[in-house]
């Protein structure tokens, strides 16, 4: 059974891969300059994008239903790793890049762990894969800490949670002061980058809240119960 992604997640990847196809314009000039490694990189990027779209994502606007990823794992992992790397290198407060980064991490993990569409909702797909294993918060890694917080706010965080509430629910029981401080710093950094915003005491993702799918909302209760 193939891994499945939501239409919004498909759109996120498709829109990036469409841009990748324009790398073909730089291919022949690279060959003419004798830059064969660059030509190899560009050709591989374009070929992978074409295959993933033709096989899984399909062309044009998003389908209404989930999209199954049936491409060979090595192709998926290669594309996701590249997209993750490129979106991580994106300068400035780019919420879309952060979301793409999260999605790539989640999907790569799902593929590597052999997750499939039968995985329990809230644990096996897209956003809702826990980026940070329970019981650990990446204190020493700012980027991972930001991703963990952003992922939580997008996926499981009760709407309009206060900062204190968010930290209390996101962090494992008995979290250390260092973990709490690192999480708080990550929230502030995300606010500064424009990925999160504060409405009074409430922490919100700086994307329209309608982007969160209704089923995510319904699953919030379940996510909370698991704690």
């Amino acid at each position: 059974m193939a891994l499945a992604i939501a239409p919004a997640d498909r759109d996120l990847i498709y829109s990036r891969l469409k841009i990748d196809l324009y790398a073909i314009e730089d291919l022949m000039p690279s060959v003419e300059r004798g830059e064969y490694e660059e030509a190899r990189r560009l050709a591989s990027k374009v070929a992978d994008a074409l295959r993933l779209i033709a096989t899984d994502l399909r062309w044009g606007s998003a389908p209404g239903a989930e999209v199954a990823l049936c491409s060979p794992p090595d192709l998926l992992l290669r594309v996701l790793a590249r997209l993750q790397e490129e979106s991580a290198a994106q300068p400035g407060p780019d919420v879309v890049a952060l979301k793409l980064q999260l999605l790539c991490i989640a999907l790569r993990r799902a593929i590597e762990e052999g997750e499939d569409a039968d995985a329990p909702a809230g644990e096996g797909r897209g956003w809702k894969i826990h980026l940070v294993p329970r019981g650990a918060f990446p204190v020493a890694d700012e980027a991972q800490a930001e991703l963990a917080v952003f992922s939580y706010v997008l996926g499981e965080c009760p709407e309009g949670a206060t900062l204190a509430g968010l930290l209390a629910q996101m962090l494992p029981e008995g979290a250390s002061e260092a973990e709490r401080a690192a999480a708080e710093v990550a929230v502030k950094r995300l606010v500064a980058r424009g990925a999160l915003c504060m409405e009074g005491e409430r922490v919100l993702a700086c994307e329209p809240s309608s982007e969160r799918r209704p089923e995510d909302r319904r699953r919030q209760g379940g996510a909370d119960e698991r704690r």
Binding site: Y36, R40, V46, R51, A54, R58
Partner: protein, 129 residues
């Protein structure tokens, strides 16, 4: 299974695929997407990807094609590419056959005219002598 092709065949392939590297080729794909002809878009995408892979793995951007080339791409990819190349070459041959026949006839007329001129002039030269 090892497959090797002579240098001349590799050069012919490189000559054919060079056109694929032209960005305008993707315009055909986008036109198909725009008119919601996704089947055509899929076909073009897969053919394009196959060609790029063959260029990457085997034809190496046309560098060092003075020697025979060992094809290392996966058999399924080679099967798809060479089926397509063979069909396209046959189509081109069939399409250009009338022109080639005409060119052959033209060449024969020319040869006869040259021959006639040479023969007549030779006889005239003998008479003058």
């Amino acid at each position: 299974m090892s497959i090797t092709i002579p240098a001349a065949q590799a050069q012919a392939l490189w000559r054919l695929f060079q056109d694929t590297l032209d960005p305008s080729c993707l315009a055909t794909l986008w036109r198909a997407v725009d008119r919601s002809d996704f089947e055509t878009a899929d076909r073009i995408a897969r053919e394009y990807a196959d060609t790029l892979d063959l260029l990457l793995e085997d034809l190496r951007w046309g560098v060092g094609l003075g020697e025979e080339v060992e094809l290392r791409s996966p058999p399924d990819l080679l099967h798809r590419v060479f089926t397509r190349v063979g069909e396209e070459a046959a189509e081109i041959r069939e399409a250009t056959e009338p022109e080639q026949e005409e060119a052959r006839r033209e060449e024969e007329w020319n040869r006869l005219l040259e021959e006639a001129s040479r023969d007549v002039l030779a006889v005239l030269a003998e008479g003058e002598g």
